[in-house]
Symmetry: C2
Subunit: 470 residues, 2 copies
């Protein structure tokens, strides 16, 4: 029995079988899982939760589960929103929360090494105490782990200048499904074969367990300042953002809200019918000043009137608030966010198509979007939908219909189906549209090679094999 074997190798204190521990880690924050819990619909609990405290513990867990063919479900801090964590009754949940040491902070090389289970906000506090910053600020920073960022290919709010997790990670340590450890070299850049970090980045627990992460951090900036502009339409705002980025400016934060969200999020700083473009500049003071003037000049030239810079301060103050949905669900309201990405010429059409499609879903209350990550080639869109179906029992169906609306508009519009939340279970059926048959086959080949027993987080990310008659 896998529990006995885990107790034998780890010690009984690291193997939890009480109902509260099992219930607390049976899922991430995916809406259908939350709905199931709210309905007390008897969703399964895992057979046990293991809490390794060392790399060697993780190796043991992987080896025991592989030998026992027990589904092993890695769990960071449970903030995922795509169903990347969900158990069956025979699952072993690998809770990384007890592997939470800060390993080393190096102010000379600007590197910071953490156990995978370190909470993001703890990591940031630790480096800030040394005058540094991570530069990676997902909204979930207070409820997500450093290892989770790697496993899901996370992006932070300051990514437009500082990049996403793949640009900030220097090296990683991971346990592969066969129990072997890889630790990539801490070097600024390498041309030493394929970058093996990328097999783990975005693998969502299917190709291994990330146990340690070294980030390439930054000194705290000399200056930070905000700005905001009114944009008359999403297309107008996209044009302004494109000009800012393609002219070579890189403010870390560049967020554009449609009229619905501007009013909802910015109240007094919003102007009815207009969208808002919010900017945060950071860096050496003189360079920030040049960038502020450059961005303001582009906005003026393109007819985007200045709004109060307090809109940026407001955003900075509120940015880590993660709303909880429980109250909504109790009132029969279902809601979620969906992020996608696209090239500049596709982002406007996808915005309109997705909002229109959401608007046609029975029971829809609001459908809105903002962008939050900009690139030379395009940007992301972050949709929010709120719906109240007539029948409470239709909440999940309504939820899925809203997701289908946005995914369909994205795929048909030539966009990418996920900017930074990942695939999990909710996007799995759409991954074939994203990767193509060749890409899915390649992913399946790699999965089969690394995890021939298929015990690592089954049901997540990787589409089922196609049957012949499809």
């Amino acid at each position: 029995m896998v529990i006995d074997e885990l107790r034998r190798v780890l010690g009984a204190d690291k193997v939890l079988t009480d109902e509260a521990s099992r219930a607390g880690r049976r899922r991430d924050s995916w809406v259908p899982s939350q709905l199931a819990d709210a309905d007390r619909s008897g969703e399964p609990l895992p057979c046990c939760v293991v809490r390794p405290s060392t790399l060697s513990d993780v190796i043991d867990v992987v080896n025991v589960c592989r030998a026992a063919r027990a589904p092993l479900v890695p769990f960071g801090l449970g903030s995922g929103v795509c169903g990347g964590v969900l158990v069956s009754a025979d699952s072993v949940v690998l809770d990384m929360g007890a592997m939470n040491r800060v390993r080393e902070i190096d102010t000379h090389n600007l590197t910071a090494s953490f156990d995978a289970g370190v909470r993001g906000s703890d990591a940031e506090a630790q480096v800030q105490a040394r005058g540094l910053m991570l530069g990676h600020y997902p909204q979930s920073i207070g409820i997500s782990s450093v290892g989770g960022w790697v496993a899901t290919r996370a992006a932070g709010q300051f990514s437009t200048a500082y990049g996403s997790i793949e640009d900030i990670i220097l090296s990683l340590e991971a346990v592969l499904p066969n129990g072997e450890v890889i630790e990539t070299r801490r070097t600024p850049r390498a041309s030493s074969g394929p970058d093996l970090r990328h097999l783990l980045l975005g693998s969502e627990g299917t190709l291994g367990v990330v146990t340690g992460v070294t980030l390439s951090v930054r000194r705290l900036p000399e200056k930070r300042t905000g700005a905001a502009f009114f944009v008359r339409s999403m297309d107008d705002g996209f044009a302004v953002q494109r000009e800012i980025l393609q002219r070579g400016f890189q403010p870390p934060v560049l967020r554009q809200y449609d009229a619905v969200e501007s009013e909802r999020m910015f109240g007094a700083y919003a102007r009815s019918g207009d969208g808002l473009l919010v900017v945060v500049h950071e860096g050496p003071a003189a360079r920030v000043d040049a960038e502020v003037a450059g961005v303001a000049g582009i906005a003026a030239q393109m007819g985007a009137e200045p709004a109060s810079a307090k809109a940026a301060d407001h955003w900075l103050a509120e940015r880590n608030h993660v709303p909880t949905f429980g109250q909504f669900f109790e009132n029969g309201i279902v809601l979620d966010t969906i992020e996608i990405a696209a090239l500049w010429d596709k982002v406007g059409p996808i915005y309109r198509a997705a909002i229109a499609a959401l608007g046609a879903v029975p029971g829809i209350l609001t459908a809105s979007a903002h962008s939050s990550h900009g690139y030379r080639s395009g940007l992301n869109l972050y949709f929010t939908f709120v719906a109240r179906p007539e029948e409470r029992s239709d909440m999940k169906a309504t939820y899925l219909e809203c997701w289908r609306s946005v995914m369909r508009a994205t795929v048909e519009g030539g966009g990418g189906i996920s900017h930074h939340h990942g695939i999990g279970r909710i996007r799995r059926e759409w991954l074939r549209s994203e990767l193509g048959d060749g890409g899915v086959a390649l992913l399946r080949t790699v999965k089969q090679a690394l995890d021939p027993d298929g015990f690592m987080n089954p049901g997540v990310l990787i589409p089922e094999e196609r049957t012949n008659d499809e």
Copy 2:
């Protein structure tokens, strides 16, 4: 017979068997291969050279060679310097030079798509004609191909601001060893599972054939200006570079030459005994001005005296000159460059250890280095050695001893063994030090899964399996 089958599927005109064609593609620009040619030492020629002109041709070649178990050796433009291309008598060389269409240049999204065989300088000329630039400028731009940049994980001279090929590539198309095609989605960023582009980036022909590449290009900068500073020692210069980069400045070019190279490369702009730090700034004019002042301020504060900015102009004018070594070889002189990377606290010790080790090689004439790519966490070093062994027949042995000296100093000093030239044959035995046993095993697992027949560029990159008694 593989030649007959290739002629049947491709047409006879795409299958070259004349001696000149076979001799011209039997190798890249690796020094031992050049030495062998100079010695006319009867190195083998491939059985044939195929010149596909379409994706479908490449698929056919891959399928024929796999079925025939014929070693397939992809060949871009042959500028590699690590022995990534070298044939045996039964090899089929896949010369990508005839797949050289510019597929699309998109000035709205700033994307440029090329067949893999397009010459770098042709690609740059094509985008420049539209007011754009690639932002990727390897010294070899006139003799290397876009697909070769991907296959080797190349870095360009402007990487300190613009990133290396993995930061500039938007999507790729490739033929896998099983004949299937993957084409990754053109989207600015994705969290859709592991980034499959990274299985091809740096794969050096062992995991597939890159057939098409889309780059995320840039508008030409509003302003470019250069600067230069004298540094009294390499450590002094490293400290200045570290301060520039860690304070948040990112000039695209930041190159530091030791005293030997300063005098050799910059003549009248050098000062005896000092090193030179050469900077090129690019971007919006006001931001460039802020960066110029910021960098000059740091240099002044740290005691690096201004040198003539003409040193930067001189470098810009000379930067794409690739020296040929033939004349040296004829005179019994062997020489090469070796690039590595390391964190800031390791780069000084590695520099000294490598220069000392090179200095102890019998017949050494000069050993020198510069840095050419800077990061928050460290930088690269680019060593040059020139040696004349007493016996002409010792040239290859002397060459290998110089390489061993630098590789050993790098590995013992905790650096990364290759910054941007790749592994090929020359670094293959050192890859285990870089990736660890776990990393090498993982790479071998992926290779075995994608190319179970082992016909894709055998002998390159991937270390041999260890025997039990090692």
